[in-house]
Symmetry: C2
Subunit: 207 residues, 2 copies
DNA sequence: GTCTATACTGAGATAGAC
DNA sequence: GTCTATCTCAGTATAGAC
């Protein structure tokens, strides 16, 4: 990897995380990186592809950490399946605690939030997601596939929203340590997973 | 309201919901609406202000419905406070079931997701949010303010993510009726709210 | 008051010289 | 590999027709 390419990736990670994807122009990035505009298109092809590369550079280690944690928790629980809490912790903690790099955490939150998770990244994440879904199926054998999929969807939403700047939270609460935030989020989504469904009646709203 | 202004609002609501805010150009909107480009700036000032007006046009009735439901549920439960489930249902259902207008539902999801909830809309939503937070405080008197704020934050994330196109869900599950989705989401976030916090130990990840 | 024609600035992208 | 110049299209601003 050339020096120029490296500088572009670093600047892009910082600026995308700080201001979001749309709000960051390639001209901001070249100013921060001290390179020429065309260099971005030479090395990456497009702004979208640059985002892909920024994500993929760190997503690999992040997902490896997730899978390692899941393996460990499953070993510790054997022969029983790992608990819902542990499985969700293995998925969530590496996303928030990744090597003390808050820029990347914010970036991942923004990428989820802006609906930009690109196909390339999606492909990269799919094996990890599949592995976690099958772990959850073992932990919750009575749950239907549709219900599991929805609960995973809700959980991803809660996680993504948490990764972005939490402006809705009191300033005080927002300054809690990442460890505490992980615990709060894991407890919340675990409660959601364990909650029973009540599908036997119309919603009250339509009475 | 002039005919031109009306046409612009309708076209903007449809296109913002369909393709997102950033991906929709003002020139797309004027083509759909059959008006002149400058008419947008005459009537609305800017693209951002146009989005504000699109949201405010329907947010008022939506929040009114939320508050009406909350009032009814609180009356029915009196003298006890309304249950967490009912409070959350009163908040979530109108966002998803709003007058059979899936375009606006998608738009609200995208606005939350792209982090665009503009200040004007924020001001418009704040009284409703405050009303619901105080209802939740009554339903969960033992919960600390920080914990309640975080759980509301997680719930908003799950809801916003759900409003967007649920590509991560199986095609089958995605075609469930809005009623069922409301029930699933209410059950999920209610479980999250009722889940106990376990703040008494370090996360396992750091061992 | 409403709307149109036109132009300005900055965005992402590309071709070609070096 | 890198840089200059240029293209198209975005949001925006304004002058003026009706």
């Amino acid at each position: 990897m050339t020096y120029t390419k490296q500088r572009i990736l670093d600047a892009a990670e910082e600026l995308f995380g700080e201001h979001g994807y749309s709000a960051t122009s390639l001209r901001h990035i070249i100013a921060e990186a001290g390179v020429n505009l065309a260099a971005i298109h030479y090395h990456f092809g497009s702004k979208q592809d640059l985002l892909d590369q920024v994500i993929l550079r760190k997503a690999g280690p992040m997902n490896a950490r997730r899978l390692a944690l899941l393996d460990r928790f499953e070993e510790e629980a054997a022969p029983e399946p790992a608990s819902v809490e542990k499985i969700l912790e293995a998925f969530i903690a590496p996303a928030i605690l990744i090597d003390k790099s808050p820029e990347f955490v914010k970036l991942m939150g923004r990428v989820h939030a802006e609906g930009l998770m690109p196909e390339i990244a999606q492909r990269n994440f799919q094996p990890t997601i599949d592995r976690f879904l099958s772990a959850l199926r073992r932990a919750l054998p009575q749950m239907t596939a549709a219900e599991l999929a929805w609960k995973a969807h809700f959980s991803l939403g809660a996680m993504a929203h948490t990764l972005t700047v939490p402006t809705e939270i009191d300033a005080q609460a927002a300054h809690e340590s990442p460890d505490v935030i992980v615990q709060r989020l894991v407890a919340f989504v675990s409660g959601g997973f364990r909650a029973p469904v009540t599908m036997d009646k119309q919603t009250e709203v339509n009475r």
